[in-house]
């Protein structure tokens, strides 16, 4: 919450005229999150420094951010670094305290407005995701010499390493207005916090301050993405509160739509892009990303089974649903996931609210847990479990088997899961690591085949096993698929 700015161009005290703030007095500016103090620790002809200190009101902060009282706020909103670290809050204060200077207006010294001044900036605690390197990436292209030192998390516990804060010093010859606008944008972008803690209109203003220099910045895409990614989420989800009960991070239990670590794993809702990127590592000539190949294999299995009414169990954010809906032979498509939020995302992606009535009647989404039996899942021709089983602890699998093969008991069940043997072909995957951080296990071909055969015998399904993706002579295909057919007699190879 502190930033200082120094010029050494004599008479340095002209800085006061440029900032419209008299060096002889300490001044206050009220902002929504507290009080901004402007004062000059030094003011000589040779050297003049202005300090902006934002005193955040931590109790008021939560109330402002919530706008509807404190109910449902997270503990993290009460105990956080906002009163100390330079972030969007300081940017807002800076914007307000030095509004004219940012616009490049000075009544007393208009001739200095467009002069590049020798400037020094000091931000002792800059919240900076990506550390010192990110600070360099942001400021160096703008003409600054950058000195960024990481702040240790806790000197008493060296094992914890560095914090996300850097002590930032910038020196360079720039127009004052440019320097201010760059700081104004840099603070929230580098912070990259989940919540801006400020209103949406403030975010708009921040964006506008980038005009002129942002377009030429080599990292402009990253900068704008970081901006737009985080919109103020004022309502917390019930599930985040459960994470808090366990002293876990808010998203620890809310990763149902998280992308895979790498490669071809991931939940049903994994981004096709991620698969595609991973595939590119393996074989640049391959025509189709693995996720699409997997979908193709699943659709082929459903077609050959003659299925019309299909359940996508563990549909996640609905990666497979559009493909199912695109085929008129599937007269009814039911997407099921345990995450209510994943289903919200799926509904948005499918544009359910805008779907024509006839089309809309073919698709339904519902929340259910696959370790629980569910009468609503009975009576379908086929069920698919695309990259789902590996997200369950092994001791929960019997419950899933019973719920799917015993209780729902569709005529056909299609299961896909990663082939762990193939993991050695993913260059970006550390040895022994799984493809998604939520994977509880990944099976070899023999393990999958053993499981599928046992389940088939137990519940009266014949099993056919296939590989998905280009087969490697040593380690097989990246993904594996089993088609279970009810009451089809002997188990097929």
């Amino acid at each position: 919450m502190l930033v200082t700015l120094t010029t050494t161009r004599p008479p340095a005290t002209d800085l006061g005229f440029l900032l419209h703030k008299n060096p002889a007095r300490a001044q206050q500016v009220e902002v929504s999150t507290g009080t901004a103090h402007v004062f000059y620790p030094e003011a000589t002809d040779q050297r003049c420094t202005v300090a902006l200190l934002l005193e955040v009101d931590p109790v008021g902060l939560v109330r402002t951010a919530r706008a509807g009282g404190t109910e449902g706020a997270a503990l993290a909103q009460y105990v956080n670094d906002r009163p100390y670290a330079a972030s969007s809050l300081l940017a807002v204060a800076l914007g307000k305290a030095f509004a004219s200077a940012r616009r490049g207006v000075s009544r007393e010294r208009p001739e200095l407005v467009d002069v590049a001044l020798p400037l020094e900036v000091h931000v002792p605690a800059l919240s900076c995701r990506g550390g010192a390197e990110m600070a360099h990436r942001f400021f160096a292209p703008l003409g600054w010499r950058v000195e960024a030192t990481a702040v240790p998390l806790d000197e008493a516990v060296p094992g914890w390493g560095d914090s996300r804060y850097v002590d930032l010093r910038l020196t360079g010859d720039l127009r004052l207005a440019d320097a201010l606008n760059q700081l104004y944008v840099a603070l929230p972008v580098l912070d990259d916090a989940k919540h801006h803690w400020i209103g949406a209109d403030e975010v708009e203003k921040l964006l506008r301050a980038g005009s002129g220099w942002l377009a030429a910045h080599p990292d402009r895409e990253l900068i704008t993405r970081r901006y737009l990614k985080h919109r103020a989420t004022l309502t917390r989800r019930a599930i985040e509160r459960l994470a808090e009960v366990d002293d876990a991070e808010p998203d620890a239990l809310d990763d149902a739509t998280a992308p895979p670590v790498t490669a071809a794993g991931g939940p049903g809702g994994a981004d096709v892009d991620a698969d595609a990127a991973a595939d590119a590592d393996v074989d640049a000539d391959r025509p189709l990303p693995l996720a699409l190949q997997r979908h193709g294999a699943v659709l082929a299995a459903l077609r050959s089974a003659g299925a019309q009414r299909v359940v996508d169990l563990g549909c996640g954010a609905g990666a497979l649903l559009p493909a199912l809906l695109a085929e008129p032979t599937f007269t009814e498509v039911l997407g099921v996931d345990v995450s209510a939020r994943a289903l919200e995302v799926a509904a948005r992606r499918l544009r359910l609210d805008r779907m024509p009535e006839r089309q809309r009647a073919r698709v339904r989404l519902l929340q259910s847990g696959l370790t629980y039996t569910d009468a609503r899942l009975r009576g379908y021709d086929a069920a698919v479990l695309v990259e789902v089983v590996e997200h369950l602890d092994p001791d929960r699998l019997p419950a899933l088997e019973h719920a799917v093969f015993g209780a729902a008991a569709p005529a056909t069940v299609v299961v896909t899961t990663p082939n762990v043997e193939f993991n050695v072909r993913y260059t970006d995957l550390p040895a022994g690591a799984f493809r998604h951080r939520d994977h509880r296990f990944e099976w070899t071909r023999a393990e999958f085949s053993g499981w599928a055969t046992a389940v088939g015998e137990r519940y009266g399904y014949a099993v056919r096993l296939l590989g998905v993706g280009t087969e490697d002579p040593e380690v097989g295909s990246p993904s594996q698929l089993a088609v279970f057919t009810r009451g089809a007699g002997e188990v097929a190879g």
């Binding site: 620790p41 330079a86 000091h122 605690a125 702040v151 366990d246 997200h391």
Partner: protein, 842 residues
């Protein structure tokens, strides 16, 4: 013709269909004999859908509404009367169908009133403007249908002529299956299948005295204490002496010493005896041959007896249902062909298995009814409770056993078969060394309907506890994806409220308010327990060393190996302290705190708490230096400078607090566990034991493994003694000054009734320094503290009590041996309530 009243017999659960032309007086009749809420009138429904009771164009919609309401009422088991002309066969057919869909009996009451009378009535009603000839046509329809009403499916038909209408009274009749007033005790006997010798032996085992006729044949059995036998059916076929079994059972039933429901074999026997074309297989051939030896009078008695058996019985106030093949809750106490078919054959899927036997749907796995269901039909190696249902057919005729259950004692009594009388089509005893048929996880099957949606859980301590739909949705995700398996997740700890806010300077919480709270609840003695700052944990520890250790949301604390090491150590400690033997159990469920805090919360400590300290330490000295320079220039920044210096001190204090709760661990080295309550052991809960008892157990565990188990210090306080309170307060001050989190104040007796309902199980009183972690480093600044005092505790208190009641309810259900879903329902509800929005700082 007499003038006395004429009684119309109506089953107490039925769909009564009034039949009569317009103006025949149906509405008046309905008003006189039934409650207005029982009567659904087509006129009224026309009004509801079209704002005009006489708008004939609204008839289809009006009937749709009528059927809808009737369906809802019948589903709930409420007698319903339909007031419409119903003179057309197709109108009646749809009502008969509706009754059957809900497994209730349709009853017809016909008002056969002369045309002239009807016309006169209609003429007197200005709102009714019927076209000429309507009444005549209706009458013609009515007369045509009159004789066929029974054939249409009406189980009772009452036709009232003009003179009968005034004299009619309704006489309610119980369903045959309704024996709720009969409270037992009973001995419920499984499938006998002609095994007379074993039956006689079993009755002897059960304490019955056999009565024999002059030829030495058993014809009755009497229990000296007045107990009665209930036979689940399949008395006959396959075995050596079906007539002997029938003679004994028929004698017992006739003498009032037994009840009997029919099995599918009795059903088929009746048809065979009546000369119907049945396949003489599955042992029927033996019965028929044996019956050939009997006198034809006996054969006739057998036919009458078997034909007269009632599909199932509802007994003991509805707590017990006996049916041959079981019965789902929806069909209990109902009457229809479907009920009979289910009771006789079970829930068949229509498919056959590899042995040519019908595939049965495992209805018991989904059974959620209140009544215990006892049944037979499918031979099982040993009876196993599945969701409060029990199959008593242990395959006596196949060389198994003949089994009975004493009710209400729930004790099994059995005798072995003397030989294998018949080879089963499908082997029913598992081959040596093979696992039970896979896919059979009867009691462990949970259904989403057990947890999802808005739910109300009945608890002993707090009555009905409601869970909101969105909270259940959040809990489903966490439960399914992260929690340990439900069979191992027997309890989740409730949230705990802090004491009321203190008004002492510089403090938010102080023991005085906790003492005052309990004094106000009429509690005489409390105990202050040291609060360990770690993570709440529940440990299930089995005697064999296995077990689980999970968090407040049911997630496993450690990976598999570390968990195993932990539970093995704790199990060994419990063994050394003699707890398993003393408590007569092979498992313990412990409520505990696991330390250090950083063991579980490490990520959060670094990303949130340490980060705040780091930012503060980087920012504040720079701010102080800048302000000192400005002050040196003579600027007026004194107050601001003081504040920044104080804040630097607060930030340092904050850092000190979290550092105290963090230390490195390696495997179990550095980890310790402080149990403070024994939640349950096999068959027992302990909420009624004083806390001193619980802590003495914990002390013994700590004595047995001091490295792993940490004792919890405590101090008893007599709330009538100010000196005791002062001593406890001094102790709290000492603890919190040394960096302790604080204490929890609990009623010394444990579960305690307060002035209104049960008292809070505990109130936490946290120390001034510790609360920096909760309210922020600077919360002690007077301007912050004054605002923070405005916190409101009502919701937190209510939540704490509801979650506590749910937790105890789950433990009590577990102790009673109730099905998994009943326990899981409570555990799940606690998790769901934990996602309620409540100020997390409380």
């Amino acid at each position: 013709m007499t003038d006395g009243p004429r009684t119309l017999v109506v089953p107490d659960l039925s769909l009564v269909v009034l039949i009569g032309v317009s103006g025949s007086g149906k509405s008046t009749f309905a008003r006189r004999h039934f409650a207005s809420t029982q009567v659904l009138s087509s006129d009224a429904c026309r009004g509801l859908v079209a704002d005009d009771e006489n708008d004939q164009s609204a008839t289809p919609e009006a009937f749709a509404l009528l059927h809808h309401i009737a369906g809802i009422r019948l589903r709930a088991g409420r007698l319903t009367v339909v007031d419409a002309t119903n003179v057309k066969a197709e109108d009646r057919a749809s009502l008969v169908r509706l009754a059957r869909e809900h497994d209730v009996l349709p009853v017809a009451i016909v008002l056969d009133v002369p045309e002239a009378e009807c016309l006169a009535r209609n003429a007197a009603r200005p709102d009714r403007d019927l076209a000429p000839g309507v009444v005549r046509r209706q009458r013609a329809d009515l007369r045509r249908g009159l004789r066929g009403l029974s054939r249409e499916g009406f189980r009772k038909v009452h036709v009232l002529g003009p003179d009968d209408v005034e004299r009619a009274v309704i006489g309610y009749e119980k369903q045959y299956n309704d024996r709720r007033e009969d409270t037992g005790p009973f001995d419920v006997v499984g499938d006998v299948h002609g095994c007379r010798a074993e039956l006689e032996e079993l009755l002897g085992e059960l304490g019955y005295e056999l009565h024999r006729d002059e030829r030495g044949r058993a014809v009755d059995a009497v229990h000296p204490a007045g107990r009665r036998a209930v036979f689940v059916g399949d008395l006959v076929d396959r075995g050596p002496d079906s007539p002997g079994v029938l003679r004994l059972v028929m004698g017992m039933v006739a003498a009032g010493h037994a009840l009997c429901v029919p099995g599918n074999h009795e059903n088929k026997l009746v048809r065979a005896l009546r000369g119907r074309d049945v396949q003489v297989t599955h042992g029927l051939e033996r019965t028929l041959t044996q019956l050939e030896e009997e006198h034809q009078d006996f054969r006739r008695e057998v036919e009458e007896f078997c034909a007269g058996l009632v599909s199932h019985y509802v007994l003991d106030g509805g707590a017990l249902v006996v049916a041959h093949a079981g019965l789902t809750e929806r069909l209990q106490g109902r009457s229809s062909a479907r009920v009979r078919s289910f009771a006789l054959y079970g829930d068949t899927t229509g498919e056959t298995d590899e042995f040519g036997l019908p595939v049965r749907y495992p209805w018991a796995q989904e059974y959620r009814g209140r009544a215990m269901v006892l049944y037979g039909h499918t031979p099982v190696p040993t009876p196993e409770w599945v969701n409060n249902t029990l199959c008593l057919d242990t395959g006596c005729v196949f060389g198994g056993r003949l089994t009975a259950l004493r009710y209400p004692e729930r004790e099994l009594v059995g005798v072995p078969a003397r030989q294998t009388y018949y080879d089963p089509a499908r082997p029913f005893l598992p081959a040596e060394g093979t696992a039970p048929p896979a896919g059979a996880r009867p009691d462990g099957v949970l259904d989403v309907d057990d947890v999802l949606g808005k739910r109300v859980v009945e608890t002993r301590l707090a009555g009905r506890v409601t869970v909101r739909e969105e909270n259940a949705a959040a809990a489903l995700e966490v439960m399914s994806r992260f929690a340990v398996a439900p069979e191992q997740l027997l309890y989740l700890p409730p949230t705990m409220s802090p004491s009321a806010t203190s008004s002492r300077p510089g403090l938010l919480e102080h023991p005085t308010e906790a003492f005052a709270h309990y004094r106000g609840e009429g509690v005489a003695e409390v105990v202050c327990q040291e609060k360990h700052m770690g993570s709440r944990a529940v440990a299930l520890v089995r005697r064999d060393g296995s077990g689980v250790l999970h968090t407040r949301t049911g997630r496993s604390f450690f990976g598999g190996d570390l968990t195993a090491a932990f539970t093995a150590r704790l199990s060994a400690a419990a063994e050394r302290s003699g707890l398993f033997d003393e408590l007569g159990t092979d498992w313990l469920l412990l409520d505990a705190e696991l330390l250090p805090w950083s063991a579980k919360a490490g990520d959060l400590v670094r990303s949130q708490y340490a980060a705040v300290g780091a930012a503060a330490r980087a920012a504040l000295p720079a701010a102080v230096a800048a302000l000192e320079a400005a002050a040196g220039r003579g600027l007026e920044v004194g107050d601001l400078l003081d504040r920044q210096r104080r804040r630097a001190g607060d930030a340092a204090a904050f850092t000190e607090v979290y550092r105290r709760y963090c230390w490195p661990t390696d495997g179990l080295a550095g980890v310790s566990c402080a149990p403070f309550q024994l939640l349950a052991t096999a068959g027992t809960t302990y909420a009624d034991r004083p806390h001193a008892w619980h802590l003495s157990l914990a002390d013994r565990l700590a004595g047995a493994d001091p490295e792993l188990v940490r004792a919890t210090r405590s101090l008893a306080v007599d709330l009538g003694d100010p000196a005791g309170e002062a001593a406890a307060t001094a102790w709290w001050e000492e603890l919190t000054a040394a960096g302790g989190e604080g204490v929890v104040v609990k009623p010394a007796a444990n579960l305690t009734r307060g002035r209104r309902g049960y008292a809070q199980p505990g109130l936490k009183v946290r120390g001034r320094e510790y609360l920096r972690l909760v309210y922020g480093p600077d919360y002690t600044e007077p301007r912050h503290l004054d605002r923070l005092r405005e916190r409101s505790l009502g919701r937190k208190r209510g939540l704490a009590l509801r979650e506590y009641a749910l937790g105890q309810e789950g433990l009590e259900r577990l102790a009673r041996g109730e099905p998994l879903w009943r326990v899981h329902e409570c555990v799940f509800a606690v998790l769901a309530l934990e996602s309620e929005p409540v100020d997390p700082r409380l």
